[in-house]
């Protein structure tokens, strides 16, 4: 089963007191989403408000992975806090665009860029309706 074939590795570092940087390696799919969810819940529990998700080593993400990202996005927004995605691979970037998640969750090219956005208090495209979604 994919669990054995594609183990998920999540490495957590704290660039700031309230900022958690999660470097994810492996497929984010139905088999690994729960584990990823536990990592995020743990950081929420420890009072982090901003979540930087480095997805540069994630070759594949399905809707289960997407839902975890959206959940932490919703939970962070209520704190209030923010979620940033860093350097997604083309395949993951494609899914983010397809599902419109990139409309809501800002995508940064690097960790420094994401940290700068956290510092600027800019959480990316603001409330739906005001952003790029207008055709």
């Amino acid at each position: 089963m994919p669990i054995a074939q594609n183990p998920l590795s999540v490495e957590v570092t704290l660039p700031r007191e309230d900022v958690a940087l999660l470097k994810v390696e492996g497929h984010l799919d139905v088999d690994t989403a729960t584990e990823f969810r536990h990592h995020l819940a743990n950081q929420l529990h420890h009072g982090r408000r901003h979540f930087l998700l480095d997805l540069s080593e994630v070759p594949f993400m399905d809707s289960s992975g997407m839902n975890i990202v959206l959940r932490v996005y919703q939970e962070a927004r209520e704190l209030p806090g923010s979620v940033h995605i860093i350097a997604p691979t083309p395949a993951v970037r494609r899914v983010l665009d397809l599902t419109g998640v990139s409309i809501t969750v800002p995508v940064s090219e690097s960790r420094d860029e994401a940290l700068a956005r956290v510092d600027a208090g800019q959480t990316g495209p603001e409330a739906p309706g005001t952003g790029a979604a207008d055709g």
């Binding site: 070759p59 399905d62 839902n67 998640v101 809501t104 739906p128 309706g129």
Partner: protein
């Protein structure tokens, strides 16, 4: 060597011709010797051979009291008579003078050869003793004196010991057999000083000259003079065998030049003495040529004479034949003589190996295809083929064949992979080849003679786990260059089993079919027409239309069956309810397997239907009993079944067609293969009160009853909202609110379009879903990706809209990612691949959707929805 005499071995006839030969050995022995002398007189003038049985041991050495077996045609068993020529006539005198002169010449030659042998022995001693040549010569003389042998004999002894070759064996055997003569000869050799005193010396001399000779002609001369005349023979012919089975006279002695020229070439398949010798490993020993009726060189000269034709081969390969002629009928020869002749034949083979026919003679291809070319050839064959190369043992004898190559069609009867068989030795890989089938013997013979071997219905046996399994095969073996090509065709199982199958089909109520996917040709047997309840004159039903003849609830099972068979190209089976035109429903199982061509393309599908109605109800009854016994398990199953039923109720796998003018609408739903993975995919296609047609597909994240429930909510909500007449962007915006406020915080994706039949336009929007695909003529491409967040993730979202103008024959497809989702490639790549598979666009939209489902290459076990509209 020249020790005391031993009793002769009892005569052991290797080969005899039918006839009274063996009953009259004493006579023939006598006449053979007489003729030996007479023969030379006849052949005076050829190649320096006119001598009177040349050897000093002939007349005077005959000791009546010696312990001779009557049949021994030993060199010394000579008779005094000189035949027709008497020394009294002038011609006779002249002949006697010539004979004397040539005897002197010959003695000088022999002496020279003897010196060559002594030099060779000295060389061996130099190497062995590490001494100089002078010392070696001294040693040789001393040792010879000690062993009371002549230096020449001792030299031969030294060479024999050093060589330890076949020639030594033969020599030893020969000397043992003629021990008494040997001892006496040695004594006489001392006495008259002639070099060619003993058989050992004679053989070595022949070998020495044969090996030194540059051509087969010289070899023939040497053999006749050195080795064969003492046996009473008068002439010798050395034939080179062509790969086509022809024979070329490579050298001869004792025949007149005119006769030799007449026989310079014998075409293939002409039965001659030499040819009969080519195919018999032991050679042909013919008592009298006249009795066999076989033609051969010099037949008119010696019509009643005996002949021997022995294959001349090295390392298992026959290069030609050594034919020896006697002037008189030939008694069966003792083993020692037979072995000696065989050794001489082997000598010839060494020369023949490099023999090139003289220019202008019959040409044969000298450039033989080598094993590499043969492997290419083997790969091009449609039957299993092996390329074999000879495997020699340390002594240079053919021991086995190495399987150099097995072609692609090769199927091991024992089921071993090709790599295991390739490279192995034939007898190791197929130990039974040496058994009753005589396969190995056939290969050996083809290799030896070059004569191809064909056999029909040969019985082959293979050991499978120590169990011998036999198969009947057509065999073809041929030699190419130094390799052997072995081809077999296992007798067509299909043909053999046809009648058996007929009976089985009848008894099992099985209907067989075969569909050619390239030509569309379908073959049914009579039983299948009965099973379908259709007249035998009606057209067979193609597999792709199976669903149309079955219960609607079985559409999924049939779809999966077709997908496994046609797309995954694996054998598949399915059970379904066949609805016959007469209203009868039968439970039927269909099993089928794909047949691929060499390019791995699907060529033919063949299989069978079986009426399992009776069996089916038994199974149902058994299942009910099992359910009662496993109550808890049943509950879990029940839950899944209910979920599935719920899903089926809301979304039948196929829906009744929607009636819209100038528009075909078709939908498909394929549940996940595992029942636990009840999914949240949905589709809808409905005519709205304002005349617009709503088409949509959606996908709720996750699986199970919750996903299915959410799906129902969203689907119904969208239907209700659509009645308001709002545009697709607005509809998705509202649907997002519904999704966001559903408990559990589900997310979902959807694509939603409103088709205006009057304007033939589709206005559409998407919420995180794959955009629709437009198929126009040969082109198929997704519509541009308008922006739209997936449903339920945020409280409010806005959805971009787009409009596309459709034309007649355009097809628009909406689908969920179960159709194309793969981890190893993008959705776009999967989609492009899938659409190209579905080309050319099938005649009806329903067929188009079916084909897409069948050939979808998704690797996730997910449910799949597909909606299509076709204009026109």
């Amino acid at each position: 060597m020249s020790g005391p005499g031993q009793p002769h071995e009892p005569p052991e006839w290797r080969r005899t011709d039918p006839g009274p030969a063996s009953a009259e050995p004493p006579d023939t022995a006598g006449t053979a010797d007489t003729a030996g002398t007479a023969g030379t007189a006849d052949t005076a003038g050829t190649a320096g051979t006119p001598d009177t049985a040349g050897t000093p041991d002939t007349p005077g050495t005959h000791e009546p009291g010696a312990a001779h077996e009557p049949g021994t045609a030993g060199p010394s068993a000579a008779a005094p008579g000189l035949g027709a020529m008497t020394p009294l006539s002038p011609v006779g005198r002249l002949a006697a003078t010539v004979a004397r002169l040539s005897r002197e010449v010959r003695a000088a030659q022999a002496e020279a050869e003897g010196r060559a042998l002594i030099e060779l022995a000295k060389g061996i001693l130099v190497a062995r003793l590490g001494c100089g040549p002078a010392e070696a010569a001294r040693q040789l003389a001393e040792l010879a004196e000690q062993s009371q042998a002549t230096p020449l004999e001792f030299a031969v002894d030294v060479i024999n010991q050093a060589a330890r070759d076949r020639m030594s064996e033969i020599t030893d055997a020969f000397l043992t057999a003629t021990g008494a003569d040997g001892g006496r000869e040695a004594a006489e050799a001392d006495g008259n000083g002639a070099a060619a005193g003993s058989a050992a010396v004679r053989l070595r001399s022949a070998e020495s000259r044969a090996l030194a000779a540059s051509d087969t002609q010289a070899v023939a001369d040497a053999l006749l003079e050195q080795a064969l005349r003492p046996l009473g023979a008068v002439a010798v012919a050395i034939w080179a065998a062509g790969s086509d089975g022809s024979l070329t006279l490579a050298g001869s002695a004792g025949f007149s030049p005119a006769e030799a020229a007449r026989w310079r070439y014998v075409p293939p398949d002409v039965a001659t003495v030499a040819r009969s010798g080519l195919t018999e490993r032991a050679g042909q020993w013919i008592t009298s040529l006249a009795r066999t009726g076989l033609p051969s060189v010099g037949r008119h000269q010696y019509p009643e004479g005996g002949r021997a034709a022995v294959p001349a081969g090295t390392g298992g390969r026959v290069h030609g034949v050594l034919e020896i002629a006697w002037p008189v009928p030939l008694a069966p020869q003792p083993p020692a003589v037979v072995r000696q002749v065989e050794a001489l034949a082997e000598l010839c083979a060494h020369t023949l190996e490099t023999y090139t026919p003289p220019p202008g003679g019959p040409e044969e291809p000298r450039v033989m295809p080598d094993a590499a070319e043969l492997m290419d050839l083997a790969d091009g064959l449609h039957d299993p083929a092996l390329v074999l190369v000879p495997h020699l043992d340390d002594a240079g004898h053919l021991a086995d064949f190495r399987i150099q190559h097995v072609n692609k069609r090769f199927l091991d009867p024992a089921g071993r992979p090709r790599a295991v068989v390739g490279g192995a030795l034939l007898l190791e890989a197929f130990p039974m080849a040496a058994g009753d089938s005589e396969l190995f013997q056939s290969v050996e013979r083809v290799y030896a003679t070059g004569e191809p071997f064909r056999a029909r219905r040969m019985n082959l046996t293979a050991l499978v786990d120590q169990v011998p399994l036999s198969a009947t095969a057509d065999i073809s073996i041929s030699r190419h260059g130094n390799a052997v090509l072995l081809i077999w065709r296992i007798e067509d199982e299909t043909a053999r089993l046809a009648s058996l199958l007929q009976h089985a089909q009848r008894l099992g109520r099985i209907g067989g079919f075969e569909e050619n996917l390239l030509t569309g040709e379908i073959t049914w047997n009579g039983q299948l027409f009965d099973l379908y309840g259709r007249p035998a004159s009606s057209a067979p039903v193609p597999l792709e239309e199976l669903a149309a003849h079955s219960h609607p609830d079985d559409a999924v099972a049939i779809g999966r069956f077709l997908r496994t068979l046609l797309h995954h190209r694996r054998p598949a089976s399915a059970a379904f309810r066949l609805q016959r035109p007469d209203g009868v429903t039968r439970h039927v199982r269909v099993v089928a397997e794909p047949v691929l061509d060499t390019d791995d393309r699907l060529l033919v599908v063949r299989g069978a239907y079986q009426d399992i109605s009776a069996q089916h109800w038994t199974e149902v009854a058994l299942a009910a009993t099992r359910d009662q016994l496993a109550h808890t398990e049943q509950q879990a199953i029940e839950r899944n079944r209910l979920t599935l039923q719920l899903q089926h109720a809301i979304m039948p796998p196929a829906q009744a067609p929607l009636r819209v003018p100038d528009l075909q609408v078709a939908v498909r739903y394929r549940p996940a293969e595992t029942e636990q993975l009840v999914g949240g995919d949905w589709y809808d296609a409905v005519m709205l009160p304002n005349g617009m047609v709503l088409v949509c597909v959606g996908d709720v994240a996750g699986h199970g009853i919750e996903a299915a429930t959410s799906m129902v909510v969203l689907r119904n909500a969208l239907r209700g909202l659509a009645v308001t007449g709002a545009g697709p962007g607005q509809l998705l915006s509202w649907l997002n609110i519904v999704a966001h406020h559903l408990t559990g915080g589900v997310t979902a994706t959807a694509v939603c379009g409103l088709y205006d039949p009057a304007r033939r336009t589709l206005r559409w929007a998407r919420a995180g879903h794959l955009p629709p695909v437009l198929v126009r003529g040969p082109e198929a491409a997704p519509l541009p990706l308008v922006k739209g967040m997936l449903l339920g993730a945020v409280a409010e979202a806005v959805y971009e809209e787009d409009e596309v103008q459709l034309a007649g024959e355009d097809t628009l497809l909406m689908y969920t990612d179960g159709l194309v989702e793969r981890r190893d490639r993008t959705v776009e790549e999967s989609l492009a691949q899938l659409l190209s598979t579905a080309r050319p666009t099938p005649a009806t939209l329903d067929q188009h959707l079916d084909r897409l489902l069948t050939y979808s290459r998704s690797d996730t076990d997910d449910d799949t929805c597909l909606v299509g509209i076709r204009v026109g």
